[in-house]
């Protein structure tokens, strides 16, 4: 099941997106380029501010860590040099988490990271912030060897993780449009070979070439036949087509 998205659904923000996938629901809003407080101003590039708001309660150090990760990743794709001395403010409000999220035994910050990245990217696209590339991100979990499905789980739901019981390691990968590894967070016990396998799998799910070998087999985990990059393009295409419906009709 591909993520459900809605673009530009908040009217007061410059750009916004609502994203729902596997029980995670996040609203992202982007304001920018706007005036930057003097203290944060950078003479040659734009300041990026990321705020992550949890579903319940006030922000904790965990959210600061997520903010730092999202900030570092977005800084590498936003063309900050083309809008110097401005501020791009990204607010990510987590609306809901899957019910089983607490009992998966997986670091919850790692599990939510791909969703936060997708939301922020869609909101940035919606706000027309200059970007050098896009990014796609996916979670890969490697179950412990003694449990039944020992193949890595691609983009597992919280329920999948609970059913797999003991997860040996979890990995989050984010790839840019030109297939560079932008972000990786891996946790657990694993060897380099396992990591490489997971990385390959993630790369295939994120930005596999059209007509590649993986088209027929695999991918049944999600029931999706497209990769995430195609999904992203589709989402934006639909939105643009909708906005241009008057122009194209005449």
């Amino acid at each position: 099941m591909a993520p459900e998205t809605e673009l530009s659904n908040l009217h007061r923000a410059d750009g916004s997106a609502t994203y729902t996938h596997h029980g995670y629901s996040i609203i992202g809003a982007v304001n920018g380029p706007i005036e930057v407080p003097r203290r944060d101003e950078l003479p040659e590039e734009a300041t990026i501010e990321v705020n992550v708001r949890p579903a319940a309660g006030v922000g904790s150090p965990k959210d600061r860590q997520l903010e730092t990760l999202v900030h570092n990743t977005l800084r590498s794709i936003i063309l900050t040099r083309s809008i110097p001395r401005t501020l791009v403010q990204i607010t990510l409000q987590i609306r809901s988490l899957p019910e089983e999220a607490a009992s998966t035994g997986v670091n919850p910050s790692i599990a939510i990271l791909p969703h936060l990245l997708h939301t922020s990217l869609l909101a940035l696209l919606s706000a027309s912030i200059p970007l050098s590339t896009i990014l796609t991100s996916v979670l890969v979990a490697i179950p412990a060897a003694h449990t039944q499905p020992s193949t890595p789980l691609l983009s597992p739901t919280a329920n999948d993780l609970v059913r797999a019981k003991s997860i040996k390691s979890v990995h989050v990968f984010a790839f840019s449009g030109d297939k560079k590894l932008l972000l990786n967070e891996s946790d657990g016990v694993f060897s380099y070979e396992e990591w490489e396998e997971a990385c390959e799998m993630a790369e295939e799910a994120c930005c596999r070439e059209k007509g590649g070998v993986g088209l027929a087999e695999g991918m049944d985990v999600d029931g999706q036949s497209r990769n995430l990059e195609e999904w992203l393009r589709e989402v934006v295409k639909e939105k643009v087509a909708y906005e241009q419906r008057w122009k194209t009709a005449t």
């Binding site: 040659e44 590039e45 150090p61 965990k62 600061r64 860590q65 903010e67 730092t68 990760l69 570092n72 990743t73 800084r75 590498s76 063309l79 040099r81 083309s82 035994g105 670091n107 910050s109 050098s132 003991s166 990995h171 840019s176 030109d178 560079k180 590894l181 932008l182 972000l183 990786n184 967070e185 891996s186 946790d187 657990g188 016990v189 694993f190 060897s191 380099y192 990591w195 490489e196 990385c199 390959e200």
Partner: protein, 363 residues
């Protein structure tokens, strides 16, 4: 006058060049190596790209804590103190199942899954403080910065995911004498009376880059040094008492020795030069610097952190090479890909040997 020299090309003394244009400064350093040996290029701090700073560790210097360590990594110096406090069982709920788990445990089972217990009861409480004046970026008197909060979250996540501390070490059990006789199966039914909670405070005296490695090393050394007094339940007083006999105190049995290695990626081509960028992957245009200092961190946006543990693997597999990766973090850019990561894991394994020797020589 005739004796005045012709004006030389505009040049600055070193520190001014570094302050005015840090990026070209480091680039100039890295590109002045002989072309035959590009790996011999020196960074601004005199190390080659693959050189780590050798840590120096001093343990047990704080008398009022249960374990402590001072770690110096170049100009980064960190003090870590571990303080154990007793958490009474009646103050926390839902610990009954952990007491049962204790019954089933056979000796020092290395794979005991006690992370949930440590996590939900918050038995490990790391904290990071950047002291006033430790770094120019730190403004005193304000709330902990995003940097400090991120650091403490990463440290806590690593403490839990590596399962370094055994929950069994932190449980304070009691075997009641009278019920043991009544018990039909004869085995003394151990009761869980309290927990030790470890407050792990890390204090940066000075910060010259690579805060994570230094803090983690300090925590590791301090935990190795931690000595918990024997605690027991006194039936008459109905409270937990601690024995003041030093001989009865015991050390924590840590699982493995995970060592963190941080790398910063320096991109030669200035990002601002042109956005499209003829960026050849990991060509001569980018360097992966081990153990970056504060100046290098300020000009590098991409960073990689690899945590490896070679000790447990050597035992488990019998093969010498099997290093286990416990954590991998990479963000901020796209230079390090799958191939480069392989080299970094290798560098982290080499680093593990150095740190292990320093820690071993100390203990």
């Amino acid at each position: 006058m005739a004796s005045t020299q012709p004006p030389a090309a505009l040049s600055f003394p070193r520190p001014i060049f570094a302050a005015v244009s840090p990026h070209p400064f480091l680039h100039a350093h890295l590109t002045t190596a002989p072309p035959s040996k590009p790996s011999h290029a020196l960074r601004a701090n005199g190390r080659t790209a693959h050189d780590f700073r050798t840590p120096s560790i001093h343990t047990g210097s704080l008398t009022h804590s249960n374990g402590s360590a001072v770690v110096r990594l170049g100009n980064t110096s960190v003090v870590c103190g571990v303080r154990a406090e007793i958490l009474k069982e009646e103050d926390v709920s839902g610990t009954a199942e952990y007491a049962d788990a204790e019954q089933q445990r056979d000796g020092d089972d290395a794979d005991g899954d006690d992370m949930e217990e440590l996590d939900s009861l918050r038995l490990l409480v790391p904290n990071v403080e950047l002291s006033t004046g430790s770094t120019p970026q730190h403004i005193p008197g304000s709330a902990p910065s995003a940097f400090a909060q991120t650091l403490v979250t990463r440290l806590r996540a690593l403490l839990l995911s590596t399962r370094l501390v055994r929950a069994a070490d932190l449980r304070i059990l009691h075997a009641p004498l009278d019920t043991a006789e009544q018990d039909s199966d004869g085995a003394a039914q151990n009761q869980l009376k309290a927990y030790w909670t470890l407050y792990i405070d890390t204090f940066f005296i000075s910060l010259d880059g690579n805060a994570f490695d230094a803090a983690w090393l300090a925590i590791l050394a301090a935990l190795q040094d931690t000595l918990l007094p024997r605690a027991f339940w006194d039936d008459d007083l109905e409270m937990v008492l601690c024995s003041d006999v030093p001989g009865e105190a015991r050390r924590l049995q840590l699982r493995g020795l995970p060592v963190a290695s941080t790398f910063a990626v320096f991109e030669g081509a200035d990002k601002g030069a042109d956005a499209g960028g003829d960026a050849e992957q990991q060509g001569p245009g980018s360097w992966v610097l081990s153990d970056p200092d504060a100046f290098e961190e300020s000009v590098c946006s991409e960073s990689v952190c690899v945590v490896v543990d070679c000790g447990t693997a050597a035992k488990g597999k019998g093969k010498g090479k099997g290093a286990v990766v416990r954590r991998m973090e990479k963000n901020g850019g796209g230079v390090v890909g799958r191939e480069e990561m392989k080299g970094l894991v290798k560098r982290a394994v080499e680093r593990w040997g150095v740190v292990e020797a320093v820690l071993g020589g100390n203990a």
